[in-house]
């Protein structure tokens, strides 16, 4: 269930966009969510407490590295931006085996109950499953429900975005080509659930392999930002066109990304 952080403030998410990361190869969706939440300094507005997600607690992942306070973070939290009419879920723990469909049912119910305008699913796909044509060129793909596709077709094909729809794979059931997302976590089934329930949804993904996936996350977040126009990285100039009021910015990497490969090797091993 969703538990608001501050029960006194009644919140309506009607018309908002919901961004959900899927636990996928390289955890790219979750890393991209981290970048969005961290760079936009989003406030946590609630928690998701569901028996399908394994337990996890830690200290504030977006805190300054030198900070010495405790701001607890749990396995699945919800962040909000009133300015952008945006809600982002961040999931830090895997699903309990066998409970993914239970979570999907709850999520689609919650989306409808709160009247979200659309659902954006951040995911990734195994790079080794790419078709020949996918081996070169942009590694970013999308797949959306027909209503969102119609609404955004011009923008997606425009020079700035140049988004490529994910190529379908012919299968025994569907020789035309169906959605094939190996390594995508719940992205495929969640997207199919949304299609059935008439929830406008779009999956954005990159092809990647397990490793240091920070750059894949930046690629995903960058493309999403081009479409949704959330963060302005360009510097802002004064009226004279020369003085800089706001310097060019970049993605803010959260402190939880530290020590990706664990503690450094103990040098006493080599003595």
């Amino acid at each position: 269930m969703y538990i608001p952080a501050d029960k006194k403030k009644s919140k309506s998410f009607e018309g908002y966009t919901l961004i959900v990361p899927a636990v996928s190869v390289g955890n790219v969706g979750q890393l991209a969510s981290d970048l969005l939440i961290s760079t936009m300094w989003l406030e946590r507005c609630g928690f998701i407490y569901h028996d399908s997600i394994l337990p996890l607690v830690g200290n504030d992942p977006y805190a300054h590295p030198e900070a010495d306070v405790c701001k607890l973070v749990t396995a699945c939290e919800v962040y909000e931006s009133k300015l952008h009419q945006l809600v982002i879920i961040q999931q830090r723990a895997p699903f309990v085996k066998g409970k993914m469909s239970s979570f999907r049912r709850w999520l689609t119910g919650w989306v409808k109950e709160n009247k979200f305008e659309k659902l954006v699913i951040l995911s990734s796909m195994h790079a080794h499953e790419r078709l020949d044509i996918q081996l070169q060129g942009p590694q970013f793909r999308y797949i959306s429900t027909p209503d969102l596709e119609a609404e955004n077709k011009e923008r997606f094909t425009h020079d700035v975005l140049k988004w490529i729809p994910l190529e379908g794979r012919p299968s025994l059931e569907d020789p035309e080509g169906s959605l094939y997302l190996p390594g995508g976590g719940i992205a495929k089934s969640l997207f199919e659930d949304c299609s059935k329930e008439n929830i406008p949804a779009i999956v954005v993904l990159v092809f990647c392999a397990e490793g240091d996936n920070a750059q894949d996350a930046v690629k995903l977040a960058y493309n999403l930002n081009l479409w949704m126009d959330l963060i302005d990285f360009k510097p802002k100039y004064d009226l004279d066109g020369k003085t800089i009021i706001k310097p060019a910015s970049t993605w803010r990497v959260p402190s939880s990304w530290r020590l990706l490969f664990g503690t450094a090797v103990d040098q006493t091993l080599f003595h």
Partner: protein
Amino acid sequence: MATFFGEILPVISRAVDDDDDDESFENLETYVKIKWKKEAQEEMELTKDKKLQANAFVLAVGPAATGFTQTYVTHKNYEIIGAMFCGMKEDDVNTFGQMSPTDKTCYIYRKCDYPSALVCECNYDIRPEYAHSFVNQLMSCLNLCEGHVVIFGSTFTSEYKSDVPTSDMNPPFMRALKTASFLGTPMAPYLEQPNVATGLPAQMLTYCHIHKLNAVLYMCYTDSIHLDFATLKTFQPLIESTPVKYMREENKKASETLKKIVDLHTKHSTLYM
């Protein structure tokens, strides 16, 4: 995936594909069961919300934490009022008889002269998948609104990530996390990013945080695979933590008790006598 040397290795990924949903953790809700003694159940029936009033609650998870609470808290003046079982059915009978510190048990104790002080000593390896059910069942029977919760757990230093090499950290060492409602300062440094706690201690702290209860989690990082004296000693200063300081029972034979617990655990683990 082909490696540099030309061999083919399976790809390992944390992404789980959807079709894995067919295997499931059978009956998560019913596998873990909390059973209360008759007297405790009758007391719960008498209250308005069918819950036991608890002003102080200690959850000790694992042999080090339970060894600590057995030595300094529950060794005297405490009675068993309930227990948690895995795989037991509603009408199975149990006498709450297993009493050795090394037995795989999970008992709930209550202080005889301070009935709203409860201790749950969990010596049972509860899988993280069952933690949600366990915490929900336990907390649905306790009224902890104004109370204090403390959770003790232990894990290996291999799980700890820091800039400093592990040997320089002088294990075993203690780290803490607290809920927003707890306004005091824990008796150990805060767990630094990017470290996290998982499993039953994490589930309990999550529950407390979401329901705005005062709670602190103390996690001991140890490099010893089996329970040792040093790990148990790391917990010792926490007898002054809230709410343990109100619940402890002085134990003049503390060192002997600790040694006995360590010996019992060692018997099963030495390859050589």
